[in-house]
Amino acid sequence: MNRAAAARGLRPGLALADARAILPDLHCCAADAAAEAATLANIADWCRRFTPLAALDAPDGAMLDITGAAHLFGGEAKLCEEIEARLEAQGFAARTAIAATPEAAWALARFGEARVMPEEASEEDLRRHLGALPLAALRLDEKMLAELAQAGLRRIGDLILRPRAPLAARFGKQLFVRLDALLGHAKTPITPRFEAPAYLAERRFAEPIVQRETIEATILGLARELSLLLARHGEGARQLDVSLFGVDGRVRHLRAGTSRPLRDPAVIARLFREKIEAAGNIDERDPLDAGFGFDLVRLSAEETERRDEEQAHWLALDHAAIGRNRPVADNVIDSKSMERAYCEKPASTFSQRALTAQDDLADLVDRLGARLGLRRVLRLDLADTHWPEFAVAAVPLYDHRSPHPEEPSKGRRLEGRGRPNGQACEDALHPSRRPLRGLLRMRATASGERELSPRPIRLLEKPEPIEAIASVPDGPPVRFRWRRVLHEVAAIEGPERIAPEWWKHDALTRDYFRAEDAEGRRFWLFREGLYETGTARPRWFLHGLFA
């Protein structure tokens, strides 16, 4: 209900007919609950500019944990004013209140006279302030409120003074749970929409920024600040987030995952440049949909991992320090020399070269992932089955949501499966040879000492049905037609019989053949089902292509 409506005498809960009677030219439309919820979620997100811990308080509020944040805005009263003024500029009417507990803040925002409950308020003050509020401030349901009203209890003060046991017996325990929460005797947490990031750096602008170059430069600057924070704690970021807070209340998030703990500012900035570039594919001119511009840019490390300083960097640090005739004191990390250390990695010794090589490829993987999407940068992962299409799967090279390294793998897994993806990624990147065990197993199971069963280099997504003619019903094909082209079989090897696992009942046994046609093209064919026991009319499929 906006102010204009309130001024004309409307109030919530009024029947539409009555409202029409008061205001004949009232414009009405149906409430859109989903849109309202989305707007509220937007507002809650936007509130993260004041504190990282912002929770949605449906249906009509947002709850911020401003512990230790208020002084940044000139005190609690100033913060209240700023929030209200900014929301009003966006066209919302808001009431804010600050108190020691979420319940008290909720009550004050809706029913209170005073807006800010001083932090050092005595128990006495608290009771006086809150006691004056109506019982509705306890978030009780209508029915209980009515019952309480019948008992002559209308204000919170009425409850505080009375003995608890009889009231609890009559109205239930909920009443006093709420009261204790209100008065701060019991602590209730808020559930923020996003977890507070481990590290963050932000920059506020008096004039909103619109241009992409400015935003990218800002991100680079923030990345430098963030990398210092991370370096001080010996950590690197695995998951990064850039929040762009628009003047119009919209918040734009850019997220980037990394394949290894990362703290190199240039690399971080490049990741987000790829992100913006990818967004630019949708809208070339205004990739970020800046609108009226952003007045707060925040870079946060959402997930971090321990990252130890490598020897190469230490050397480079040393060089940088010597070069400028300045000793590097312990525990003091100088931003200039850090940056130089990152920028000029001397690749003089072997270990350094190996190190940079690994970083090099990980950088590439991150960059491709940022632009194309994490699900498009893959590695081959062997599964514990001999059924051809499931024997190997392309899985994302890294996924920050992968199970944690310490988590024990369930059941019998092949190498490359139970391990975290970070490790697997390292496998792909690290020079030491680690053959996949599944392949070796294949070598062992085939008959003969060095025999390998033929496998195509490319496997079709689904086996494609072919028309094949065989000289004998269960023999190899003589000719077959695939994609409307007839192939005469010139050489053939097989069958290699692959039966489904015994617990699968719907799949049929396959007889695989490696066939070469007259032109020298090689194919992997199979006949599905065995004669007599399997099916009456076996079908032929083409499954893969050889080089």
């Binding site: 632009r371 081959l380 392309a394 053959p435 392949l439 280099i457 010139a490």
Partner: protein, 289 residues
């Protein structure tokens, strides 16, 4: 290069039609542009193993360069991909370096996805392969350029279905990235493309045709068994070849790929026992049979 005047390496034939002369000029220009010495890394040649091919390539496959692989006919696309993978395996073999395969989604749907066990039998360690799938050719070319800026992979293989976007500019970008960072790019044009009409600044262009393998007689005199992978390779373009132009341009060279040695071999017209022994899957006892 700096002082001496530029000379055309080929003379324009008189009386040829305009389109032909234009394409010749365009190719010549690409040659001049790419002839500048690479800034970063020195070129090396990795011998492929097949003597005939190595001679044409002046010692082997040039690193820090871009090579194109096309299929002679649409049905030869798997052979072209196999040849590209074999060359990549050859490049990766000395230091077991990782490989990057960048494939367009459409090409993957058409020809199938790379299959790990099959790659292992082709001489490639699947654990050291980074696969990148892109939605279109534009992304694939971008990803290839990015990957070529990274020194670690032994080779970057790009499979592009629609060659429309792969033009002089696009190839030039890839060549520059490869030269500057000393990396090797293999671009596999999976779609229908005419090797002669293509104008690009790549170092070499291979046209691949599937070749009947050195078949082995099967027991009982029935249909023979297929042998190891074999290709017919035509060098449609070689910048480093003798005078940039070479006599047997039209000739297909038969080669075998031996995945155990990670080496190409000249395929002989008659299968030899030694050659057949290199096969991926023929146990000795079956050969004697």
């Amino acid at each position: 290069m700096a002082g001496e005047p530029l000379r055309l390496r080929q003379t324009l034939p008189h009386g040829s039609d305009l389109a032909e002369r234009l394409s010749l000029l365009r190719r010549e220009m690409a040659g001049i542009a790419a002839a500048a010495p690479p800034a970063g890394a020195a070129q090396a040649h990795v011998p492929l193993g097949a003597a005939g091919l190595d001679r044409l390539l002046a010692g082997g496959l040039a690193t820090a360069a871009l090579h194109e692989i096309t299929a002679a006919a649409p049905g030869d696309a798997p052979a072209a991909a196999g040849f590209a993978l074999a060359m990549a395996a050859r490049l990766a073999a000395p230091r077991n370096a990782p490989l990057v395969w960048i494939g367009e989604d459409f090409a993957g749907r058409e020809q199938g996805a790379l299959y790990g066990p099959g790659l292992a039998l082709h001489g490639i360690d699947p654990a050291r392969l980074v696969l990148v799938h892109t939605a279109n050719a534009k992304d694939a070319l971008w990803a290839m350029e990015e990957a070529l800026k990274c020194r670690t992979p032994a080779a970057v293989i790009g499979e592009i279905f629609s060659a429309k976007l792969y033009d002089l500019t696009a190839s030039r970008r890839l060549v520059l990235a490869a030269q500057k960072h000393g990396t090797t790019g293999l671009i596999c044009l999976a779609g229908p493309v005419c090797a002669e009409a293509l104008s690009s600044s790549a170092e070499t262009r291979f046209e691949i045709r599937a070749r009947p393998s050195a078949q082995l007689a099967s027991a009982g005199g029935r249909t023979p068994l297929p042998g190891p992978a074999a290709f017919d390779v035509r060098l449609a373009k070689a910048r480093a070849g003798p005078a940039g132009f070479f006599p047997d341009r039209e000739k297909f060279h038969p080669v075998l790929w031996s995945h155990r040695e990670v080496l190409f071999r000249d395929a002989l017209s008659l299968p030899l026992a030694a050659v057949a022994g290199d096969g991926p899957d023929q146990p000795p006892r079956r050969r004697r049979a």
